[in-house]
Amino acid sequence: MEEKEMKQELNFEEAMKRLEEIAQELEKGDLDLDQSVKKFEEGMALSKKCNEILQEAEKRITILIQEDGEIKEENFVPTED
């Protein structure tokens, strides 16, 4: 679970970077039509993935409590003082 999420996070940046490159390449217009279509499809897939990552998360504010070397996670609401 941890590993997978880390990977997805990395993918977001990579995907965003690749998407930027693709947009630039397409705008240059040097590619032939076949390549352009392939790049475009790749770009749309990347964009979809990024959006999924963005929409996936749900607000969660927690406090980690260490007990006997174990870590417990509980919802956290800051106190007013």
């Binding site: 941890e2 590993e3 999420e5 880390m6 997805q8 996070e9 990395l10 977001f12 940046e13 965003m16 998407l19 930027e20 693709i22 947009a23 397409l26 705008e27 217009g29 590619l31 039509l33 352009s36 279509v37 790049k39 475009f40 770009g43 749309m44 964009s47 990024c50 959006n51 990552i53 963005l54 998360a57 749900e58 607000k59 969660r60 504010i61 927690t62 406090i63 980690l64 260490q66 870590i71 996670e73 956290f76 800051p78 106190t79 003082d81």
Partner: protein, 395 residues
């Protein structure tokens, strides 16, 4: 033994001279706590220095008081440099201070500077060791106190930027004995168990002593060793702790740290849309361009009237054919003409032609005789006529 009495003034003057003559008392450096502090309107400072068992009156005259780097107050632990002298009028001795500093601060500054220089030399602050801050960290790990404004500010700013932010707070003491060790442990725990994608190490403002855990070597080394990128936000904007120098990114305040760590979700969504649109427009342009090229290509004659080209080729072949025929014919005619001419010429020169006119050829043996002197009497000669030949004898 008879003792002559002296006046009080004489005694106090004697004491004053005695004290003034003592080299040690001329330069004292005393540690103590300030009490009864009075900042007189004349600019002189009056107070008492004390410790657990004893106290002494002190005065700092205006000219020295102006040079102090801090405003003394009751309860403050200080180091006072000055001269001990007797105040004749009251019969008291007191310290006439010339310089004063807060006790402990000096050694902390020295320790700070020394550690900073040492770690800098080791390369712990080197930009090449700074890890990049992820653009879209899923979970923000926060190391700070679970009470107070710092965590509240971080949560507020983070939630504003991304309503779906995920924050994990691992509470740590941010000042006092043992705080540094707990901070180190917290950094290690977050790393070992991969509990976050990025860490914020934060603390509100405070005195140099309050901020001290963030100036400790073990904290600096734990930050350096962290695989997770760390944003530090310790103290006020003007406070620079060792932790700030080692961290991958220094934020001036905890709120600023949250802004640096948490991407603005709306911005990212807009950016994605923008990139998508750019790609779409670019592809559409490309397709349109290719269609135009195709259409232009299809308007060419070879595609519109493919037979015409073949017909043209036929024509071309025909023309060539005719030209070749002509050339051959002309050559033949020319050769024929010249042959006729030559035949006519040959004909004219032919001996047969001469013979038709009645001439004959005289031969002796095989030799044609063209001169009478070539012949003598009784030579047997052959006469050739147009038709036939006959033998004759020269007379």
């Amino acid at each position: 033994m008879k003792i002559e009495p002296i006046s009080v003034t004489e005694l106090n003057r004697y004491m004053k001279e005695k004290v003034a003559g003592d080299e040690f008392l001329n330069h004292v450096y005393v540690r103590g706590e300030i009490s009864n502090f009075k900042n007189h309107y004349t600019g002189h400072m009056y107070f008492t220095l004390k410790d657990e068992n004893s106290l002494i009156k002190c005065i700092i005259f205006k000219s020295y008081a102006e040079k102090l780097k801090f405003m003394p107050k009751d309860g403050m632990k200080v180091l006072l440099l000055g001269t001990v002298s007797v105040f004749e009028r009251d019969g008291v001795y007191q310290i006439y201070g010339k310089a004063m500093q807060e006790d402990g601060i000096g050694s902390l500054y020295t320790a700070y500077e020394e550690l900073k220089a040492k770690l800098e030399k080791e390369g712990l602050f080197d930009p090449s060791h700074k890890k990049p801050i992820p653009q879209m960290p899923l979970r923000i790990g926060v190391l700070t106190s679970n009470t107070g404004a710092v965590i509240r500010d971080i949560i507020n700013v983070s939630t504003r930027r991304n309503p779906d932010v995920q924050i994990r707070l691992l509470p740590v003491p941010v000042q006092g004995e043992g705080a540094a060790e707990k901070i180190v442990k917290a950094i290690q725990t977050m790393n070992e168990q991969k509990l976050a994608d990025i860490l914020i190490l934060a603390r509100g403002g405070g005195s140099l002593e309050d901020l001290w855990p963030f100036n400790e070597e073990i904290v600096a080394r734990a930050i350096f060793a962290s695989d997770l990128p760390i944003i530090s936000a310790v103290g006020h904007e003007t406070d620079f702790t060792i932790a700030d120098f080692v961290a991958d990114l220094r934020a001036p305040t905890p709120s600023a740290a949250a802004e640096l760590a948490v991407p603005n979700k709306q911005d990212l969504i807009l950016k994605l849309q923008n990139l998508e649109n750019r790609s779409k427009i670019a592809l559409k342009k490309k397709t349109e361009f290719m269609r135009m090229r195709y259409e232009k290509c299809m308007t060419r004659r070879v595609f519109k009237e493919p037979m015409q080209m073949i017909e043209e080729k036929y024509l071309w072949v025909d023309m060539r054919k005719k030209r070749i025929q002509n050339a051959v014919m002309q050559g033949f005619q020319r050769k024929k003409g010249s042959a006729m001419e030559k035949i006519a010429k040959l004909d004219a020169l032919s001996p047969l032609k001469t013979l038709t006119r009645g001439y004959s050829i005289t031969k002796l043996g095989n030799k044609v005789i063209t001169r009478a002197s070539d012949l003598k009497k009784d030579d047997e000669i052959t006469l050739t006529f147009l038709e036939g030949e006959t033998k004759a004898k020269v007379l």
